[in-house]
């Protein structure tokens, strides 16, 4: 039996409670709407350029399914190739182990500051918190991650983590928290803010001795890791320090170098709506005279093997973290990333987090209900993850949230007896009759308990004026 994962993928509040708080922030909704709509429009345009997009998606899904089918074997192959290329490969069963390995590796260098490339895996394992506790300061170098870190906040989107801040707020954060910032030139103009970040990080890039990254892909055939980015902070961290430590989820593997071609076409178009992101770095172990000379790779399980054991749930591990599903999701658009209580927000978060941790962890059982099942996420997903199917699968197999459980139990009671069902329908129609006169939308905003759990976050349709049986009998 494979173990479950832990770390920043356990929601501490039920989704409906967290969502209610986030819904009360009009600025957040405005920012999110603008951002998600802009990105999804760009994505649609760039995807339309490819008349073979569906074939590319199918190839992406097929390659990843192949990886999942042969995972242990490919992990061995990767380890062998990376080791032959001069890397040291470690394996971590969970977040705690991964953090301990990275902390020990940093300690061994004697450094007390590490530069970080934006990485979902290190966020998942709460690495920054672990390093800080060990007296090591992690410095985020991606502009958005830096904003969020300086603000003492958490990211709210996979791709644009600081999307919940606007320029004036970012200027305030920099003015207050960025050491040595030049207030005389710091306006809220995005180029001025980017310049401030460049100055702040430049000296660190040139002098840093240790960097920590994740990887977008890992190639079993060659032992290579791949990081896709746009600012150049990735290249800086992957090239200049002496020691490079990369935390890589075991599902990031692709079998062959040539397979990268499919994903390098799928990822930027799905993610930022670009033909290609500005920079991609691929490295295999150590190259004498070029880049880090101590290269460590921490292969992270943290619940992934358990997800792989579930034949329906397994497809979630194809995810390449492009965030396309977030940008098309009507629920994400309104509540934002923080409502999901995990580093993986939106539709992918709703299926990935509860699978990685097991549905009993924290409030993760509520996440599969954070969806209208409209299917937009499936259409957008570059690796064809059937997110709605998985949401339903998780709803069926997981513990039910209390409200829904009570409502469904009451409904089952009523429906088990035809007589009770008929009389329930009759009283419902009777109760609803005056509403039909006053309520032109034909929707009920609140049902009485125990059905109130259902209407807390959605409207219910008004019952029709006559039952089908009655209507049929009247003809």
């Amino acid at each position: 039996m494979s173990g479950h994962g832990d770390g920043h993928i356990v929601a501490h509040r039920p989704f409906p409670a967290a969502a209610t708080v986030e819904l009360g922030k009009p600025q957040l909704r405005e920012n999110l709407r603008n951002a998600t709509h802009t990105i999804r429009d760009k994505r649609l345009r760039l995807v339309a350029e490819r008349d073979d997009w569906e074939e590319l998606r199918a190839s992406g899904a097929r390659i990843k399914d192949g990886v999942l089918a042969r995972l242990p074997e490919l992990l061995d192959q990767f380890t062998e190739a990376a080791t032959a290329a001069g890397a040291v490969v470690h394996r971590a069963a969970d977040a705690e182990q991964a953090c301990a390995i990275v902390t020990d590796l940093v300690r061994a260098t004697g450094e007390t500051e590490v530069l970080k490339v934006k990485s979902m895996a290190t966020q998942e394992i709460a690495l920054n918190e672990a390093l800080t506790a060990a007296g090591i300061e992690p410095v985020e170098t991606d502009l958005a991650e830096l904003i969020v870190q300086l603000a003492g906040d958490t990211p709210s989107h996979i791709l644009v983590p600081a999307i919940h801040y606007n320029r004036a707020q970012i200027r305030d954060i920099f003015a207050r928290q960025m050491p040595g910032v030049d207030l005389s030139t710091l306006t809220d103009d995005p180029p001025a803010l980017a310049e401030a970040a460049r100055r702040h990080l430049r000296q660190k890039f040139l002098t840093a001795r240790v960097a920590v990254s994740g990887a977008n892909f890992a190639v079993a055939e060659t032992g290579s890791l791949v990081v896709v980015e746009s600012e150049g902070n990735g290249r800086m961290c992957l090239t200049l320090p002496e020691t490079l430590i990369s935390v890589v989820g075991i599902e990031k593997l692709v079998p062959n170098f040539q397979d990268l071609a499919v994903f390098l076409e799928l990822l930027p178009r799905s993610s930022t709506g670009e033909r290609m992101n500005p920079y991609t770095t691929v490295w295999s172990g150590v190259t004498p005279g070029d880049g880090p000379q101590q290269v460590h790779i921490v292969l992270l399980d943290n619940g992934r093997s358990a997800v792989r054991d579930d034949p329906v749930g397994r497809q979630a591990l194809r995810c390449i973290r492009c965030s396309a599903c977030l940008n098309v999701c009507p629920v994400y658009e309104r509540v934002g990333g923080h409502a999901y209580g995990s580093v993986y927000p939106g539709p992918i978060g709703a299926i990935l987090s509860p699978q990685l941790t097991g549905q009993a962890a924290g409030a993760n059982r509520t996440l599969p209900y954070a969806s209208t099942l409209c299917g937009a996420c499936f259409d957008a997903c570059p690796v064809r993850i059937n997110i709605p199917e998985l949401l339903i699968h998780l709803r069926q197999t997981g513990p039910k949230p209390a409200g829904e459980r009570a409502a469904m139990r009451a409904a089952a009671q009523v429906m088990r007896s035809p007589r009770r069902y008929r009389s329930a329908l009759r009283s419902l129609r009777w109760a609803a009759a005056p509403l039909r006169w006053t309520n032109r939308r034909g929707r009920l905003r609140r049902l009485p308990w125990p059905l109130s759990g259902w209407t807390a976050s959605r409207d219910a349709p008004l019952p029709p004026g006559a039952s089908f049986r009655q209507w049929w009998a009247d003809r």
Binding site: A197, Y279, T287
Partner: protein
């Protein structure tokens, strides 16, 4: 799988689908469009005109840095100082970071469809820090290094285990209200010089 295997029509700039039988010229056009779209500057010359074209791009440069094996002939028209990175005595990072430093390199492969240049630390490219720390990267790409699609480009690389850098335009961020800002941490400017052999009769292409 992708463009390189496609058949039929010629490359179509509007839909972005260059295909295997798109003429070399169409691919160069597409590459140029894509690079300009990313705000890189693109120039063209023929082989004999390369030194003059490079000298023009480097006109106001105070310091030009090049990989150890960059052909000396490329920079014969440039009057300023040229500093070679040496394996035994690599240039220090502060030297690469100094104001006004430009770096001139070659490339391994370029991808027309996505406007991407691939460096693999092979001939004329040097180590990765060289093309990363200076503020301005001038990259020389020969027409026969240009391929249509990403899969074709990856197949062309002689050894995928070399450190690879795929460059599509200068450094950029869209993290603040999704407004694109160029030049965050990587080079702020990218200039690409396409070296195209003139068709029969010669002459500079553009």
């Amino acid at each position: 799988m992708s463009g390189a295997e496609g058949g039929g029509e010629a490359g179509d700039a509007a839909t972005g689908r260059p295909v295997a039988d798109a003429s070399a010229d169409e691919q160069l056009e597409l590459l140029t469009d894509r690079l300009v779209d990313y705000r890189a500057t693109v120039g063209r010359c023929d082989r004999a005109g390369l030194p003059d074209a490079l000298a023009a791009v480097l006109a106001e440069s105070t310091r030009v840095v090049v990989p150890a094996d960059l052909p000396a002939g490329w920079l014969t028209s440039h009057p300023g100082e040229v500093i070679r990175d040496q394996a035994e005595q690599p240039l220090a990072l502060p030297d690469l970071d100094a104001a006004g430093v430009r770096v001139v390199t070659g490339a391994a492969v370029a991808i027309a469809e996505t406007g991407t240049i691939i460096l693999d630390a092979g001939d004329h490219q040097g180590r990765r820090a060289l093309t990363l720390v200076p503020d301005h990267h001038v990259c020389v790409v020969f027409a026969d290094q240009v391929v249509g699609s990403v899969p074709a480009a990856l197949r062309r690389l002689p050894d995928p285990r070399r450190p690879l850098t795929l460059i599509s335009g200068p450094s950029a961020t869209s993290d603040i209200e999704l407004q694109r800002v160029e030049g965050v941490h990587g080079p702020r400017r990218l200039a690409v010089l396409l070296v195209v052999e003139p068709p029969e009769g010669g002459g500079v292409v553009r």
